[in-house]
């Protein structure tokens, strides 16, 4: 999945859009066939941008916690803010922006994990565990990183919300719109898998 910042934006050349060209015809930008009036940002846009700016760093860090890869996190955060703007009218109370936006962000991150980027990381886990590569296993942080990367997307999300954000189970359940029991079971399963991965690595000659 190439990065937003190194790939075409989705809908780049959808049929209902114009291609605007300069005299020498380089594509400058794509505009809606029925575009918006040129105007200063509306009040609602300004409110959105204020909140987006205020929460941008924390949102990016949460995306990093879930995805780890900086470029992926950058893409996911941008996509989440686009989604948030599309759904802006559904946010009744601006003071609830953070949990409202977090749900959009974690869903975006989860979808990116599902899209297939995990394959390469999974292989590295298997290599580290099965070959007993002393260089890889001497790096405790890498081992844990690989073990986390091998978790299913839903479990990576709850692990990040629990151990990075330090959110209580009820709050995670609310963010993800799932029952607290499901959060408990995902955490339980995730810890079990992490134990198994780390134990397997330790048992193959780790220096620790």
């Amino acid at each position: 999945v190439p990065s937003r910042f190194t790939r075409a934006r989705e809908g780049f050349a959808s049929p209902d859009r114009h291609v605007i060209v300069s005299r020498s015809s380089e594509v400058i930008e794509i505009a809606d066939r029925r575009p918006a009036v040129v105007e200063q940002p509306t009040e609602r846009a300004q409110a959105f941008l204020r909140l987006a700016d205020h929460h941008l760093d924390a949102a990016y860090r949460l995306a990093r916690a879930i995805l780890r890869d900086a470029t992926d996190a950058q893409d996911a955060t941008h996509d989440a803010f686009e989604q948030a703007w599309r759904k802006w009218s559904t946010l009744r109370d601006p003071s609830r922006f953070e949990p409202w936006f977090d749900r959009i962000l974690v869903n975006t991150c989860r979808d990116r994990l599902r899209s297939g980027r995990r394959a390469a990381t999974d292989i590295s886990v298997e290599v580290a565990i099965t070959t007993g590569d002393p260089f890889a296993q001497s790096h405790d942080r890498d081992l844990l990183a690989n073990a986390i990367a091998a978790l299913p997307p839903e479990h990576r999300v709850v692990v990040a919300l629990r151990y990075y954000r330090d959110l209580p189970v009820e709050e995670i359940a609310s963010r993800l719109d799932i029952p607290p029991g499901t959060v408990h079971s995902r955490l339980h399963y995730a810890l079990k898998r992490l134990h198994a991965s780390l134990d397997a690595a330790d048992g193959k000659g780790t220096t620790r």
């Binding site: 190439p2 020498s24 029925r34 918006a36 703007w85």
Partner: protein, 284 residues
Amino acid sequence: MTDHELEQRLRSWYRAEIPGDETAPAALRSSIPAIPVTVPSAGRRGGTRGRGFTLLAAAALVALLAGTAIVGARLLDPLPGPSATAATWTATGSMPNSHVNHTATLLPDGRVLMVGAYDSDGAPASAELYDPSTGSWKATGDMTRGRAEHTATLLLDGRVLVAGGGDSGTARTNTAELYDPSTGSWTATGDMTEARSGHTATLLPDGRVLVAGAGGDNGVASATAELYDPRTGTWTATANMMERHSYHTSTLLPDGTVLVAGGGESIAPSCTSRAPGRGPPPRR
């Protein structure tokens, strides 16, 4: 290891992996303000769709009007429908210098980068930025050399690729450079495989840039084309066009192919042909 120890290890790992003061990359931060402009929002009162030109269109119009900067903008409100016939033109700040055979490129933050031109002494290396919020122009960093009849292409990472052009009526260059809006500075990148002016540059869906054709010496245009890869900063020749094209148009179509049309080997318009696009079809 107990569950509690593993939980502590996880918390420590996250703290080390993602420092609390880690900030969002500048490219991400600068991309956010464009969202309300470019992304439709559900529930917008009455909707502003269907009424007039976008800021983007306005920027393109700036590009089209050499010498006099006019932004097609604020329309009568409310308009009865999507017709642009009720659009009006409003004068905006004049450019510091007159321009001809320049380029104008909309930046992700809404400003417009104006590059190159011919003047009485050749082509200056200066570049200017138009700020639509104030209607004013200001100088930004100079290019590494003067250019006119070049191309300027916004890359997916927010930088602008400026390629080719000349500094007089006959001297054309194969050099290219990148403008970084966050610093206002220019950096040389790889040279094209041949010197070009009067060519076109088209951003492909995969982020590469297709450069095609060129005006040639003795009135003979070029049929060659090449691809710029922003990840490596290098150019690679690709298949020649069926005909020679200069001062033509090149347009990315919805299916990912690139339409090259018009232009000619000399002054007269000659031909229209369709070249296969490079890169995957756009994602739906």
